[in-house]
């Protein structure tokens, strides 16, 4: 294993040899004709699922199919935030497990994914807002999750750039989760891919799934742009395009695809030390290690598969940025981009079996897929390997819309554009 493991000793040896022996992180190969399990979608969720299938459930013949290159979709388009500050028990349990997996991920993968628990700060602006946040904080603490109430003096010390005396939305305090933070998103993709590859998973890029092979009511494999691949177990992890893929299998989902834009400014010296979210508008911001301020806000509000948004949201997000931190008005935006997200009907994800035996669905991640990556992969792997929902994901069922067991954090109702 020495030629594979990363360590200080390995670095010294490779340096002495002139850095000639570093290997690619994963193999590039053609698909075999059959596998024990196929994961569709080479984003962070799919790669995590493939890795845990191999590591936790001992599956060795696993293929991961990606139509483009791995990490080319939402895995590389998010704002890299991790947290578990939910109110409803189903979400609290699941996202806390995810955060715990993040905390041990670098050791597990032998790869630096730059987990930075710099703390999450959610601002509140009124007495009612404070009460709602205290309730949320109490719900978190009852589940053993860290939550702290901050006052204005704390905020002044933590983040002097915040305008606490905004005339329209004065800031009274914040609910903080000190263990929240950020992770380097591309490194997550590469780290999982490398670890999965070492366990024998075939990562097949440039391989688009064009249909499903179904025998009676059982899945028998997929048809792809690189031929037929047979497998008795297929997991979909293609959030953004879940409806499109599910339609190929004859399924209709409680999901709309929407575009979520994000932005990064030119790099500056350390200014925002935590992940900060504004409470008056939907707006969240953090500073990358390169110094760029990374921020985002609402989805555009109309169905889209375009991976680019429109100007009204650009304006709204920038107004929020300047209202929260007036100094940001002096910065230039370097880039903006859009990602296509699965907006589910209750703002919570779906990890479940489908009407076709052996076809499993991981979808509906709305705004929050990135932080869920480890637990999502873990739960999908469990589902594929055992045919049963993982206890942590048992509430993320597809039939909850028919049975009324919705998990709607903000009580919005079945209007994805407003979640």
């Amino acid at each position: 294993m020495f030629h594979r493991e990363y360590s200080i000793l390995r670095l010294v040896v490779e340096a002495a040899r002139g850095h000639r022996d570093w290997r690619p992180l994963w193999r590039h190969g053609a698909p075999q004709s059959a596998y024990d399990a196929i994961i569709v979608g080479g984003g962070a969720h799919g790669l995590a699922a493939a890795y845990y299938l191999a590591r936790e459930y001992g599956m060795r013949k696993v293929a991961l199919l990606e139509r483009s290159w791995i990490g080319s979709g939402n895995a590389g388009r998010n704002t890299t935030i991790i947290r578990s500050n939910y109110l409803l028990p189903a979400n609290t349990r699941f996202y806390e497990w995810s955060l715990k997996l993040w905390e041990g991920l670098e050791r597990a993968l032998n790869y630096n994914v730059m987990v930075s628990q710099r703390g999450l700060v959610n601002l509140f602006h009124s007495g009612a807002h404070r009460d709602a946040f205290i309730r949320r904080g109490n719900a978190m603490r009852l589940m053993g999750i860290d939550a702290e109430l901050l006052d204005r003096a704390d905020l002044r010390r933590l983040c002097p750039a915040i305008d606490l005396d905004n005339a329209r939305f004065p800031i009274l305090g914040a609910l903080a989760q000190p263990r929240g933070g950020t992770v380097r998103h591309d490194a997550v993709v590469w780290g999982y891919a490398r670890a999965a590859d070492h366990l024998g998973v075939d990562i097949i890029q440039d391989c688009e799934v064009t249909g499903f092979l179904v025998n009676g009511s059982r899945i028998d494999g997929v048809t792809t742009s690189r031929g037929r691949i047979r497998s008795p177990r297929v997991g979909l992890a293609v959030a953004g395009h879940s409806s499109r893929l599910a339609k190929l299998a004859g399924l209709r989902l409680p999901i709309e695809s929407h575009v979520l834009q994000a932005f990064v400014t030119e790099g500056v010296k350390p200014l925002v030390h935590n992940v900060v979210s504004f409470g008056a508008e939907h707006f969240f911001i953090n500073q990358s290690d390169k110094g760029g301020l990374v921020f985002s806000g609402d989805i555009d509000g109309y169905n889209s598969y375009a991976q680019r948004g429109n100007l009204p949201i650009v304006e709204q997000v920038c107004e929020s940025a300047v209202a929260l931190m007036p100094a940001l008005g002096r910065l230039r935006i370097l880039r903006s981009w859009g990602g296509v997200v699965d907006m589910s009907m209750d703002s919570s994800p779906i990890i479940d079996k489908t009407a076709i035996d052996g076809l499993y669905l991981n979808a509906g991640w709305c705004y929050g897929g990135f932080k869920a990556t480890p637990a999502s992969g873990w739960s999908l792997a469990h589902l594929i390997a055992t045919g049963e929902s993982h206890p942590l994901a048992r509430d993320y069922r597809l039939d909850r819309f028919a049975t009324g067991r919705l998990i709607d954090e903000r009580g919005i109702g079945p209007f994805p554009a407003r979640h």
């Binding site: 409806s243 989902l253 169905n303 994805p416």
Partner: protein
């Protein structure tokens, strides 16, 4: 994205609010399978990549409800008509 309102002409996206799929038909609540049909109606969506017809209100303009046919892959708008005309067509078909 600019949307040509039948009353106001081409207006900026910021004046409009989208409600969603315009093809959905409210089921008959007295039908025997009403419960299943309402679950489909309330929660399930075709969510196509390509031409999609959706209900949209010119909220910060003339407040008309519109049906916009739009390509979800490119944001190109194929047609815009009044939702009222659509219900007129629908009720004519029902009658």
């Amino acid at each position: 994205m600019r949307i040509p309102c039948p009353f106001c002409g081409e207006r900026d996206l910021s004046e409009f609010e989208f409600l969603g799929d315009a093809a959905l038909q409210r089921p008959d609540p007295t039908a025997p399978e009403a419960l299943e049909r309402f679950v489909d109606y309330v929660y399930l969506r075709d969510n196509p990549q390509g031409i999609h017809s959706e209900l949209c209100q010119h909220r910060y303009g003339c407040r008309s409800w519109l049906v916009v046919e739009r390509d979800t892959g490119t944001h190109d708008i194929a047609s815009v008509r009044l939702a009222a005309d659509r219900s007129a067509c629908v009720s004519a078909e029902v009658a």
